[in-house]
């Protein structure tokens, strides 16, 4: 079908038409692999381009002759236009294979992207179209690489990283050097054989080539490891290695590229090379830290300009990158350290929404860059001129595999005695096999200078290596990892108990280390934490009260619960807006979650909003490179937890003194608000004889029932307001009851609506913040809270959720 379309349109020579066709072609092609539903979907999305072609029409250009009815100035828009089309094409294919989920489980996305790239390349080749000249050295290093690196740096799981920093750097630096030099020398040895006809490649060029292909890009491996829940140590080592060896590779690459031009190399050059290597690396780190702190400091003052708040993160990290590039020091190191440094502080300073925006945009840019690179890889594989040399390519594959395995083996033997948790052979295999080559390798090869005489051979060999590792290793790594049963770790523990005991253990270990006079990394962690709390946080954060992670987790769980409660029960309330229920609800006012004063709400939400990040940072330590870290798992746990509570919640089964004389029905009753409110109400109506004070006592006795469903919010209240009495007097709540309830009804819908979406996992992050926004809406004075923190203008105009809710509260 697309062939037909092609022949019809062939007469048109405009390039954009070509690309438009390609768009149709590719989507057509990829439909073959996918279930039916794709067809209409993609064609619908493609259609608008028909009108896109005619678009220049309304803008006739001025000419000296007759006024032209129809002109075009394609050259003017060519570059951005083609770029847009390429991005769209790549994005469409991404949509395509996410429609059929199972594909991406078994075949890494990079494989699919390359495959589609190959198809497009084949089509372009058949119509003799040149590949776009988009991917030049400058474009790659200045525009495509920074987002990818920023993404990895920004979503770097901080705690495991610093716990394993030695090993990570060891593998990244020494491992890459090992690979480059090992592969380079072995290939040079191969070049000495006349048989293979590659004698004209000298040592420098071999080393240059080796440095290109020693950059591992373990995206596919990471996805797999993340899915199967492989243990944290391996994960972080692969993650960190992939990240930092990019830096090492780029430095090596520029060094060797420089050396490749030199006629001869003396020993001082080698020494200078080593010195330069250090200067470049350490300089990059320093620049990164500097810009990171500046960014964090800046974000302290952005509370009035929420609209541009996320921008600072990008601008400062990009600035770090560019400045490092200016001084020819490692820009990758600069942007990584900048991201790591600023993240902690910036996320606490900015609002929840800005935080979500930052995360999304970081992910989006990185995904686009990476998608494009893989896509181009496919296209270029077909369209470029290859110089195929069996021996050289095969030996490249062999040596890359061999030296990687050998490197891991040897380096692990050296690093293992220094580690407390050593890598077993299985772990080492995982590490070695996870060493796929990817985007960086291709880009570096493709941007090789023309002065390299066998450039085409190098490109061919790199592409062969990438295709081999991505397809063979990438596809087989999942079955293998599952088969050899690499030590797994349960990473989605998110209960208060676990948090408490993790902390207990940290303190315990720290204490025992002190006791036996040894300092492990807990000692340094402790020291840094103190330094951070005393100095850094004061300078960099607007609100610098230190929070214990236990408390923040607790708050998070509670907030979650509250949201769910509103979900489940609020509908029932407004469904019965009778006087009876109103008066009934007055009694319900003992429900602690209604006892907020505006000031408390302000404080609470401030704290909550901030702690949300912290916890999310912790729990989503493992990020998937292709998708935003979501808290779907957390949510699932919470939902399950809540469900189980609802089922089993018996406040009285859990109390301080077993001998509490509360009748069974009353007990049940006091609990009921946690469960279905409707039944509680009906129950209450049926049994109006229950003395109110008893009621108050039973439901207001927070420490005893203390369940997560109700009391929690009281607790939060007391957290922000220390002076509050131990057992909040129930009467005090009454005056507020009416007001709160009316707002309660108002908030019903906005909370419930996003929840429904929450089944859609992909957008979990968003939904979560929406939920939060929804939760924020609960409280009567819409403009009142946190004037300095939340931008009222944005609140009203920017967020559809808000508009909804204001309508709703107005309605009620």
């Amino acid at each position: 079908m697309e062939r037909f379309a092609l022949s019809v349109e062939k007469t048109k020579t405009w390039v954009f038409c070509m690309i438009f066709l390609l768009l149709c072609c590719t989507t057509g092609k990829c439909e073959l692999k996918e279930p039916k539903p794709t067809d209409s979907g993609i064609f619908e999305t493609v259609k608008p381009f028909d009108s896109g072609i005619e678009e220049p029409q309304p803008f006739p250009e001025e000419e000296y002759g007759n006024l032209p009815v129809f002109t075009m100035d394609y050259a003017r828009i060519q570059i951005p236009f083609e770029f847009t089309l390429w991005v769209l094409l790549a994005s469409f294919s991404k949509i395509g294979f996410h429609i059929y989920q199972k594909i991406t489980i078994w075949i890494p996305e990079s494989c699919l992207l390359i495959a589609i790239g190959l198809i497009v390349g084949a089509i372009m080749h058949s119509v003799k179209e040149e590949p776009p000249a988009v991917l030049t050295s400058n474009v790659f290093f200045l525009y495509m690489l920074p987002p990818i690196i920023l993404d990895s740096g920004y979503f770097m799981p901080t705690r495991p990283f610093f716990e394993n920093i030695g090993t990570v750097l060891w593998y990244a630096v020494v491992g890459t050097l090992w690979n480059s030099i090992g592969i380079g020398l072995s290939l040079f040895a191969i070049c000495q054989f006349e048989l293979f006809e590659v004698q004209d490649i000298n040592l420098q060029e071999n080393l240059l080539f080796a440095s290109i292909i020693s950059a591992v890009d373990p995206v596919a491996a990471l996805n797999v490891f993340d899915d199967v829940g492989v243990n944290e140590q391996i994960y972080i080592v692969i993650f960190g290695e992939g990240l930092f060896n990019d830096a090492v590779t780029v430095v090596l690459y520029s060094m060797f590229a420089f050396l490749a031009d030199m006629p001869s190399i003396s020993s001082t050059d080698v020494f200078l090379g080593v010195a330069r290597f250090l200067v470049v690396g350490i300089g990059g780190v320093l620049f990164g830290v500097l810009f990171g702190f500046v960014a964090a400091f800046t974000s302290r003052f952005t509370s009035r300009v929420r609209e541009i708040e996320p921008l600072f993160v990008f601008m400062f990290s990009y600035l770090a990158y560019l400045v490092a590039e200016l001084f020819a020091i490692s820009s990758i190191m600069a942007i990584i350290t900048c991201a790591i440094t600023m993240k902690y502080y910036v996320e606490e300073n900015v609002s929840q929404r800005s935080c979500t925006t930052i995360r999304h945009v970081v992910k989006m840019l990185a995904t686009v860059s990476e998608t494009l690179i893989f896509f181009f890889l496919g296209v270029v594989t077909i369209t470029t001129d290859h110089e195929w040399n069996w021996a050289y390519v095969m030996f490249t594959l062999l040596f890359a595999f061999l030296w990687r395995g050998l490197g891991i083996l040897v380096l692990t033997q050296i690093v293992n005695p220094l580690r407390t948790i050593r890598f077993s052979l299985k772990d080492q295999f995982g590490l070695a096999y996870g060493g796929l080559r990817g985007a960086i390798c291709f880009a570096l090869a493709f941007t090789l200078g023309d002065n390299i005489n066998r450039k085409n051979l190098f490109v061919t060999a790199s592409i062969a290596l990438i295709l081999f590792t991505v397809f063979v290793q990438g596809i087989s790594i999942r079955p293998i990892v599952e088969y050899i049963k690499i030590r797994r770790t349960n990473k989605d523990l998110n209960t208060i108990n676990v948090e408490i005991h993790t902390r207990t253990m940290e303190h315990l270990i720290c204490g025992v280390e002190d006791l036996c006079g040894q300092w492990g990394h807990y000692y340094w962690k402790d020291k840094f934490k103190k330094f951070n709390d005393r100095i850094l946080r004061r300078i960099l954060l607007r609100d610098n009260t230190a929070e214990s992670s236990i408390v923040s987790l607790y708050k998070k769980l509670e907030l979650q619960n509250a949201i769910e409660l509103f979900d489940t029960s609020m509908g029932d309330i407004s469904a019965v807006p009778s006087i009876v229920s109103l008066s009934d609800e007055k009694k319900e006012a003992t429900r602690p979650k209604k006892k907020f004063k505006t000031g408390d709400i302000l404080k609470m939400h401030d704290i909550l909003a901030k702690n949300m990040y912290k916890i999310r940072q912790r729990t989503t330590a493992f990020t998937n490179k292709y998708s935003l870290p979501d808290d779907s798992r957390t949510r699932e746990i919470l939902i399950r937890r809540h469900a189980s509570i609802r089922r089993s919640l018996r406040a009285e089964s859990f109390r301080e003194q077993p001998a509490q004389n509360i009748s069974k029905s009353l007990r049940y009753y006091s609990l009921q608000p946690g469960g279905s409110l409707e039944s509680a109400l009906s129950l209450r109506r049926r049994s109006p004889a229950i003395p109110e004070e008893d009621l108050l006592r039973s439901s207001g006795a927070s420490p005893r029932s203390s369940s997560r469903s109700l009391i929690p919010m009281t607790r939060l209240n007391t957290i922000t307001e220390q002076t509050s009495p131990k057992e909040p007097p129930a009467a005090a709540a009454h005056p507020l009851a009416m007001e709160n309830r009316s707002s309660l009804r108002g908030r019903k819908a906005p909370v419930a609506t996003p929840r429904r979406h929450s089944s859609n996992r992909a957008d979990e992050d968003e939904v979560f913040s929406e939920n939060q926004a929804g939760a924020e809406e609960q409280h009567p004075p819409p403009q009142g809270w946190v004037p300095e923190n939340r931008d009222p203008g944005l609140n009203e105009a920017g967020n559809p959720l808000l508009r909804q809710s204001s309508q709703r509260s107005w309605r009620t």
Binding site: T502, D514, E652, F654, I719
Partner: protein
């Protein structure tokens, strides 16, 4: 080098078998022991409380208590010592040995249970085999005691919530009249099941005889 030792080697040899430490590690720890005790044979609570580095540890008392707890001596005794000798000191320390590559799965499992038991004992202050709500609250309160702004109230609420969490995960179908008395060891194991205790709760005991870490008292 053996001649300069104040203690005879055979005694260490016993300890190696009992605790699983290497000879070097025991020597190092013994040096530290002498440093802490002021060259006496036993260590008292006061000795440990004087360690400056411990001063800021929120669970300082719990840690120190653990050293004097008879339950941590691998015996079946209850109660606590007034002062402990080197052997007892080592026994407590042995809870913090990291697993090695040679540890088998069963050994790991045992190690894990040992570590969980240690934590459990730390929380179960009265030794009745259950962490009651009061005990748990104390744990959380102490844990949060250095966090500044968080009051006792919050700590209590958190402990309560945590307790209920244990109750709901372990006794899912509790009747309305049931009362969850406290966390038993089995339940405690259950809630910490996913946590990789054996690879998390450990200390790297120095092997080298010239331990540079001992410069602080």
């Amino acid at each position: 080098m053996g001649a300069t030792q104040t203690r005879p080697e055979p005694q260490y040899q016993d300890l190696v078998e009992d605790t699983g430490f290497s000879l070097e590690q025991i020597k190092n720890l013994h040096k530290r022991f002498e440093q802490l005790s002021g060259n006496a044979d036993t260590i008292s609570r006061e000795n440990l409380e004087r360690i400056p580095a411990l001063a800021n540890n929120p669970i300082k008392t719990q840690i120190i208590e653990a050293f004097f707890d008879k339950r941590n001596q691998h015996g079946n005794e209850l109660g606590s010592y007034e002062a402990i000798g080197f052997k007892e000191f080592l026994m407590v320390m042995s809870h913090f040995r990291p697993p090695t590559l040679r540890t088998t799965e069963e050994e790991k499992e045992a190690m894990r249970e040992e570590k969980v038991r240690f934590l459990f004992n730390m929380h179960d202050t009265d030794g009745d085999g259950k962490i009651t709500l009061q005990e748990y609250r104390r744990v959380v309160e102490e844990l949060l005691s250095k966090s500044g702004t968080i009051g006792q109230e919050a700590a209590r609420a958190i402990a309560d919530a945590a307790m209920l969490e244990v109750a709901s995960t372990n006794v899912p179908n509790m009747g309305p009249d049931d009362f969850y008395e406290g966390i038993t060891f089995e339940h405690f194991q259950q809630i910490l099941k996913g946590l990789e205790m054996e690879s998390r709760m450990h200390i790297r005991f120095l092997d080298a005889s010239a331990a540079h870490g001992f410069c602080r008292k």
